[in-house]
Assembly symmetry: C2
Homo-oligomer: 815 residues x 2
């Protein structure tokens, strides 16, 4: 870059204007200058038009030099691809190279001669402006006397040229319209394409697919006038309102959706999650409170307890007669549950457990339902029996009596006002040698006899711990689903407002709708596509969760962890974008985006910090990988196979370069690329860790040194799963209109993933620059195509107007 | 990728375990299998060690095959670079190629033989494990009998090899330690490096550079016990509190900082902005209220008014005797001020202007100070004199009388509760034929005589409009500075908490601090570097703003627009990251991140929507570009010059590939790359627009079709400016310790920019894959180096403890 003089104002470094003289530009331009004098080696029209084998390339060469969008790199790319055409002889190649030297462009005069030649030929041949650039090129050979060295059939030649046209990324028909005079003044189509023909209700039915009755039921409950947003800044009032709502839902049977028979056999957590997801279209405090009581507390009894617990507690859980807490996190141990410090020591003489908080860091923190309504808690504590530590176990500890008085030995403090979710009464709990009966141990996986003998069906402490932690999985699935619903609410508000609100426009004409601005389409429709993708992926997660077995439970847990992270980050990003897209209106509380943002902001860190969860996903992939390729010999084979993919890409420049719309919108192409990235990152992170362990680095440090890589791997894995499920979902849809619009959303999601990772793909020689550029253009194009369907696509989420509540989400221009 | 069998569980697509047989893997592995049988063409140690010219490469080849981190692509890259070494003959090259075929790795046996050879040689030569891989290679030639074809001097050979080592990105000394046995058991250093030696106070002095007295003054004011956060959810109370604070500051002289003499000549807006920036370390509502009254309202009188206005109003502005509003935005016209609809019609008979709101969309919206305290407003309206529309002008319209009663013809409504900034009383205003004296027109740029004759020193309506809009520039500069301060507050809280809080750790050892996790370093230190970068860039902006002339004012306005967008987006992103990095503690209101987030969220859309502002930046660059290269001939020359840079990159594979730390940390390299991107995007967006205009697309549509590109250009421009200013700032620092730590931050910022744009740079052949990878690694490395200084770096922001307020930002583990 030296030799480029800086602009004298110091503001930017554009080349100097010509008045200052080329001589001041340093050594390189001087060289240019001298080349400019050697006129005879510049490309000439005469030379070009005299060679029959170059005839089919003439229109492309003309377009390459006159199309303002082509970069020197693209011109070079065309040259490389063209020179590979078998019909070119040495002489043709030499002239072609001269015509494609970015440093030596043809003069305007020569280009004008070429244009005249093409126009005259087109007229003689009566060509229509509807042809493609390749067709035009192929037809030009008809006027060439000696064309026998060219491909014999016209279609064959067109195919060969079409591949060049695709490499170039030029829209051929557009270029031809500019070249063939009869079409020169045809007005260029601007603005959105036609909408797809589909009914939002039909799309809604697709999204409601599983448990449509449960979703309909919850929507119906929410239509009750009691469920209207009560905007209050009074924390107590808000808590009582949320509790009243929860009681009403419990009375109507929300709890029975999860525990229809009051025992595990009858439990339908899939239905409960569907009800939870639908409920999340309304107030998020209500959803979280429901999740704490039914999802965490109720499920802990269901999964960690045994028949006696089910019989005694589940009916009271279902009716909300016994509001409960899930006391796992401690101040000092948020994500790292294994190291909680609360102790439950068995006193064999009394036949009781003594629950105690040994230090300030051991206080139970952030416990939902604790500050106000909870009467009992599932407490996670280090179990000690006969002086022996047995790891983390859960037991039921009463907190308040029937009148709501805190019981002796228990101290509870309010966590205080939060950014959001102030309808949930989070509290801190300290236990001072609180004694509870032996029966209060949730003893499905570990039992203590009256005499103080410990038994467990799972011999490994670690394995038992992770089995018990399985209760958290439902929580993570639910947070993922609630994140999805909140993102849908935000998108519905922002897309409807973007379709209504106008700003800026051509002089003398009405201002245009926000959604007709390209940047606005990109900022809202890409997240819309991702949110649709997540809808399908979460359906898959719920199904796998409901059907999970002992064998695949670890895998399902990792999937839940990864999708919770991905969905909650998406929610935060979508709502931020939605807020900004609605400008000042988005900032008004009345338009609800503020509450949505504040309420969901914690989703990225509760039920497991996202960054920690992503590492858990990566570790699960690594465990799996290691188990399969334990010994060295196999590792070597694996390395060969892994290398093969790279080698294949090297050998298949077309896949690396192809830029046609059809290719880019091919699911198989998108998925293969995401799969390749996942596999490659997995193999490389395994190598890195292995290397460090071999070098004697201790495991914790070795993993810490590759943390960013682990997160990247998890991200690649989750994106692959999400795209896979979206593609699968689109394939199962029958209705042709729906298939088209969902296909576009799916392509937009897949290509957005590739666009965001284009650095990585290029780094690994899987993508050439031209392809990365074509993907970016295709993303813009898909947004333009989806624009007319945008409102119908958010209508299909089927969010009741009372839940939307925001005036700007309901057809008004302001709150 | 076909031929890779999917994992049968469907969970991921790893290659199948070997038990299933290679035969099932499809055509490609079968080919592999057959190649595997041709043992004789596999690389052998004997062949390698027999060629003297390969001797210096032996250690690198060994490391290439045994270092688990090398990918096939990297191995190939080594091959390409090595084969270019002039001393290699054909035979050596053939063997080298065989040793670097990723599809045909050497067997473990052969590698063991090579290792033995190196070890034996190292022992004979008494080599120390401290040597680099290149030195080791060069030394090995000492044992070779016939080495006369090799570079003659050892340093020359080492240099040649070092470039290979750099291309490879392998840390040589580490590899040597693994190879040379005496060092095999030396413990590997883990954890943070030593902190830089610098005093936070000295760094704070660097940041305070301009106007240190003003900053000290404001800090002192804020130490008054009156300035303590009063957490209240009562909107009225909060507004009164903020007004009382503002009054106290006005009494102490805040207003006089801006208008010391009460006229433009004495105005020191630089000092006012410094006071504003410092004030933004405290409550954001107070800052915005101060900005509305002093910055927008006061500055509108100063810059749009004339002497009579200055004399009458400025003293009352300085004392807050006359709280004022800046009534520009309308419901229908937020960003698009040119199309406001409010009318000011001159009634020549009465000698008055009649101010009127003709439609609902024309109501003044979001006007700060309007709902409660404002007594007068600068109103922007379409001026009509003698039936002729003269474009947007500003005039003073009284809103309330001295007792606070709204005046006749004026209607004001409260905007209602917002996400944040509830201490600012935003309102809506309607005017019903309100009459104000002729003198109320702020008539610096356009005057109306008593008889109704309009005069203006600026003949073009458009130019006059933009001149008047210049008043907004100070607002944008101020929002950028407030964004910077809020980001500093968030980082101070999150970095201090990250240094205190522990989570996860090796078994049996204490848990490690959050900031010792790699992901935590990346999530906080990259934003920290960017925030430091912005500090220097905003200093530059303020200086340019203060010194602006008629000539460069458009340029300064574009810079202010771009930096406002960049700084406010940074603020939103930093605070989000800070909140998540603090987990649940970050969610508690007591820890202040919640208020910081909520209060600043509007910064990205007020004083101009960021996306719109970025397009303004791009358009300013384009205007400039077009003015310089107006005619076609020049355009052609320009094209040649622009192409040159690409050509140079092609001709300079080293710059594209170099991966050494020293090279990556070279300011000049970083800046050249960012400059190149800016220039390239500018030229290409100009080409695209030109093409569309030539094709007959109307200007509005042509710009709309390249909006994303415009935003990318503006982003590239701003990043270049920010890096340039940061580099400049570091260069002016004398203290060696400060220079080191600021240099690291500057490198981290520069490389983070390149990392984020690595897709673009590869697309344009300016970066090879290996370089992109090396940049990523260097970013991680810089974070590790900065880790020990993290707390000192936020301490240097010098935020008073009372402003921090958050318990977790002041050494506590919880609120």
């Amino acid at each position: 870059m030296q030799g480029l003089a800086a602009c004298p104002t110091g503001r930017c470094s554009l080349p100097l204007p010509p008045g200052t003289g080329l001589a001041t530009l340093g050594p390189f331009p001087r060289m240019l200058e001298s080349r400019l004098m050697v006129e005879e080696i510049r490309p000439t029209a005469k030379e070009l038009l005299s060679l029959p084998r170059l005839a089919p390339l003439v229109p492309m060469l003309y377009v390459a030099w006159t199309d303002g969008e082509l970069t020197p790199a693209e011109i070079r790319m065309l040259g490389t691809a063209a020179r590979a055409q078998p019909w070119l002889d040495l002489r043709s190649n030499t002239v072609l190279a001269r015509w494609l030297d970015p440093l030596m462009p043809p003069s305007s005069n020569e280009l004008a001669l070429v244009r005249e030649h093409i126009r005259a030929a087109a007229e003689r041949l009566k060509l229509s402006p509807q042809e493609s650039l390749s067709e035009l090129g192929a037809r030009l050979t008809e006027l060439v006397a000696d064309s026998k060295e060219l491909p014999s059939s016209m279609p064959e030649l067109v195919r060969a040229l079409a591949s060049l046209e695709a490499v170039l990324g030029v829209s051929g028909r557009e270029a031809v319209r500019a070249l063939v005079p009869s079409a020169a003044h045809e007005p260029r189509r601007i603005g959105p394409t036609e909408p797809t023909s589909f009914a939002p209700e039909a799309l809604r039915a697709v999204l409601d697919r599983k448990y449509p009755e449960v979703r309909a039921q919850v929507r119906k409950w929410l239509e009750d006038p009691a469920f209207r947003y009560q905007r209050t800044l009074d924390t107590d009032k808000q808590r009582e309102q949320v509790f009243a709502w929860l009681k009403q839902l419990a009375d109507q049977g929300l709890g029975r959706i999860a525990f229809p028979e009051g025992d595990e056999a009858g439990a339908d957590l899939g239905a409960f999650i569907a009800s939870f997801e639908t409920l999340a279209l309304f107030d998020l405090s209500l959803v979280v409170k429901a999740g704490v009581h039914f999802g965490l507390f109720g499920a802990s009894i269901l999964f960690l307890g045994t028949e006696k617990h089910h019989r005694e507690y589940l009916p009271k859980v279902a009716t909300l007669e016994l509001p409960g807490c899930f006391a796992m996190s401690e101040l000092g141990h948020g994500s790292n549950v294994r190291d909680v410090e609360t102790v439950a020591r068995y006193d064999a003489e009394a036949g009781k457990f003594v629950v105690h908080t040994p230090s300030e860091g051991a206080r139970k923190e952030w416990i939902g339902n604790a500050a106000r309504h909870g009467r009992i808690a599932t407490v996670f504590a280090q179990l000690e029996v006969g002086g022996k530590g047995l790891g983390v176990h859960a037991l039921l500890v009463p907190l308040r009596d029937e009148r709501g008085q805190v019981l002796p030995g228990v101290r509870i403090e309010d966590c205080g006002r939060k950014m959001g979710l102030n309808g949930v009464d989070n509290g801190r709990i300290w236990f001072d040698h609180v004694r509870v009966p032996r029966e209060n141990l949730l003893d499905r996986f570990g039992q203590v006899s009256a005499e103080g003998e410990y038994t467990s069906s799972i011999s490994s402490d670690g394995r038992r711990f992770f089995t018990m932690l399985g209760t958290l999985v439902a929580g993570r699935v639910s947070v993922a689903c609630a994140s999805l619903s909140a993102a849908k609410s935000g998108l519905t508000i922002a897309v409807r407002y973007g379709d209504l609100r106008r700003q800026f426009g051509p002089p003398g004409a009405p201002e245009v709708r926000l959604l007709d601005h390209q940047t606005h389409q990109l900022r809202l429709l890409k997240p819309l596509a991702k949110t649709y993708a997540l809808d399908f992926a979460l359906e898959h997660l719920v199904e796998r969760y409901v059907k999970r077995t002992e064998e695949d439970s670890m895998e399902v847990e990792a999937l839940a962890a990864g999708l919770k992270a991905y969905a909650s980050w998406n929610c935060t990003a979508v709502l931020q974008e939605a807020r900004e897209a609605c400008g000042g209106q988005g900032y008004l509380e009345a338009n609800r985006l503020s509450a949505l943002k504040d309420d969901t902001d914690i989703f990225t860190t509760f039920e497991g910090d996202n960054t920690v969860l992503m590492q858990l996903v990566a570790k699960s992939l690594l465990t799996d990988y290691r188990q399969r390729f334990e010994d060295d010999r196999v590792y070597a084979v694996l390395k060969l196979i892994a290398d093969k993919a790279t080698a294949m890409a090297d050998k298949n420049p077309i896949a690396v370069r192809r830029t046609g719309s059809e290719h880019l919108r091919d699911d198989d192409f998108q998925l293969r690329f995401l799969r390749y990235r996942e596999e490659d990152l997995l193999a490389s992170v395994a190598r890195r860790i292995r290397k460090r362990l071999t070098a004697g680095v201790e495991a914790f440090a070795a993993f810490n040194q590759v943390q960013a890589h682990l997160v990247a791997l998890a991200h690649a894995h989750i994106e692959r799963v999400v795209l896979e499920q979206f593609i699968h979902g689109v394939n199962t849809v029958q209705d042709p209109g729906l298939k088209v619009v969902l296909g576009r959303l799916c392509d937009l999601y897949g290509l957005s993933c590739l666009e965001a990772a284009s650095g990585w793909f290029q780094e690994n020689s899987l993508m050439e620059g031209g392809k990365a550029l074509a993907i970016r253009k295709e993303v813009v194009k898909l947004c333009t195509e989806l624009r007319p369907d945008a409102v119908a696509l958010v209508d299909a989420f089927g969010i009741p107007d009372t839940c939307i509540a925001a005036p700007i989400g309901l057809g008004h221009l302001s709150a």
